[in-house]
Amino acid sequence: MNVAPGLAAQLAKFAGALREQGIRVGLGDEIDAATALTLVDLLDRGEVQCGLRIALKVPREAWATFDRLFRVHWSGTAVDDVPVPPRTYPRDQRGAQWRWDGARVRLELPEPERPEGDEPGYSPEAMLRRKPFDQLSASDVAAMERLLVRLALRLAARRSRRLVPTRGRGVVDLRHSFRSALRTEGELFRLARRARALEVPRVVLLYDTSGSMDPYSRFHLAFAFALRRVIRRLEIFAFNTALTRVTRAIAPGKISQSLERLTADVPDWSGGTRIGECLAAFVADWGTIVGRDTTVVIVSDGLDLGDTELLGRAMRALRERARTIVWLNPLMGDPRYEPTQAGMRAALPHVDHFGPAHDLESLERLLRFLD
């Protein structure tokens, strides 16, 4: 089942071209494709195309690119090189925006304001849930932080459907019962049991700290703190024009202390945003911490000053690695809002859950989605 040498060379070149376009084709796939070429009718172009697509395992999203390259490489005429769009990489741009202006930090709270209560069925908590983050008073904040911790606790305690051995209640596990009975000469004294595993989710929080997100900063940070307290495997990044890992800055403890450390660590707080570059940098430098059990939460308004094509590519790369991608957009609290910015449009196809994040109720909805 050997494929002709000329054909093999053409296949290798074709596979190279696919890889250049970001379609992941490995050597094993090329070998599969070579075998497939010995099985299909080489005079039937459609069948060759279809066979290669099957053997190279080209996913549905990449079919358009695949078909275009197929026409170029298997047309029977000379093979020309397809122009490849230049790949801009964010690395060289990072650090360029390193400036820090303490006066621009606007994390103080808005003016205190009493909730306009006394309506029937009024409950402070219910009011809090609906109140936009940018309209809260200091006492609201304290109440809210307590609520956030409760939410985060619920997030951390997820039951998997997998059964694991337990000492408490559960279904009887005969296999283990008999195995442990061997110790007592086959006499069964104790029944081993299994119960649903407690799943510890891994969460990566990517948080937009640009100027347009300022009014929401404090509350999303409080959410991050609350998560931090109960989820051990949490990584937090801040981004605006550059990406900064702030996991250490958001240490358990007092918010105000951490806030100082945080503002010192994050360059260009309240500046502009280049989401695409920052996410691409995240994928390049930190991509390996995102696994199949990871939920990536991006909190941003999607108002991007940078390269939206880069954003789309970075989101696709994230999508391939993560279990779930959640995009929280505080602007969605406004009923007139439509995700029309180019940045948001580029990112949306790769997002599993796109929701508002302007009040507590919307964050609760996120937790329901995660459950």
Binding site: L39, V40, E47, R162
Partner: protein
């Protein structure tokens, strides 16, 4: 077209599965190259049916492993029949036995409950078709385990030793893409993506599956469903839904589509409350007019 592929396509069609060249090619390559076939596509495009028809064409048994969250290796591979082993031991207490012989007896194949994966590799009468349905529902750990079984086609049972495959089964994996399948598993397979059928294909399926359906009505139904799929819906109706709907209309004695009957039977096609609300009277009227106009 390769003669063998054409023959396979014809055979599948005889068994009631209308296969495009891409599907027939994929099935042919998978059986010839002895590789598992990973089939992806939206719900209701006939992924599971593909495995069933393959078993019929190859005249072999279909062994199905339905995946779900929390599925573990025991459920997929084997389990000892503990109850039976216990009973056997109780009987043995009354009439003294040679302990070694007794042990051999209760850890023999007779006391082993074969689950789908083990059954698939130990089938004696030729290779079966192993359908691993909705692999995206199982968790990652199970996927890794499956990868191991699919690469070696052998299973180790501590009490029995290693059982190697008598025949390597034809494996079909399906996924609805609720979760991305791991790269390692994807690379191990050949890959087929099934789309919603074209007008011609859907009409042919309908003729095959719903005998006695008026030709003009069949065309209207197909045109209606095809137009419905172009709308912005959460869950697009699959071929199975089209067939259900056609059967419903047949039972109701309809010989043509009208807005009233479509309105009351729309639940056959749309199974999402949001989608039903989206497709109101005006939309139904428009679709009915479109579907009833010939050409």
């Amino acid at each position: 077209m390769n003669e063998a592929i054409r023959a396979l396509q014809a055979a599948m069609e005889r068994d009631g599965y209308v296969a495009e060249p891409a599907v027939a090619t994929a099935v042919y390559l998978a059986t010839e190259m002895r590789k598992p076939l990973l089939v992806e596509g939206e719900a209701g495009v006939g992924k599971t049916e593909l495995a069933k028809v393959l078993a019929r064409v190859l005249r072999t048994e279909l062994i199905r492993l339905q995946c779900y969250e929390g599925l573990d290796a025991n459920t997929a591979l084997y389990e000892w029949n503990y109850q039976r082993q216990l009973l056997r031991l109780r009987i043995a207490e009354r009439e003294p036995h040679d302990p070694a012989a007794l042990e051999d007896l209760i850890f023999g194949r007779e006391y082993l409950l074969e689950r789908p994966l083990l059954r698939a590799i130990t089938r004696r009468a030729g290779p079966p078709v192993l359908l691993v349905d909705e692999i995206d529902r199982a968790d990652d750990g199970f996927e890794a385990f499956l990868l191991e079984v699919l690469s070696d086609f052998q299973v180790t049972v501590p009490e029995l030793g290693t059982i190697a495959a008598t025949h390597v089964p034809h494996v079909v994996l399906t996924s609805n893409r609720t979760r991305e399948i791991g790269d390692a598993l994807r690379r191990r397979c050949l890959y087929l993506y099934v789309e919603h059928p074209s007008f011609e294909k859907e009409l042919r399926i309908l003729r095959g599956k719903v005998p006695g359906l008026d030709e003009r009505l069949a065309r209207s139904i197909t045109r209606f469903v095809q137009a419905l799929r172009r709308r912005d819906l959460r869950k697009l109706p699959g071929v199975a839904e089209t067939i259900d709907w056609a059967q419903a209309l047949l039972r109701l004695g309809q010989d043509r589509l009208d807005a009233e009957v479509v309105g009351v039977t729309l639940g056959c096609l749309l199974k999402d409350e949001h989608d039903l609300r989206q497709t109101g009277n005006a939309a139904v009227d428009e679709l009915v007019v479109l579907a009833s106009s010939p050409g």
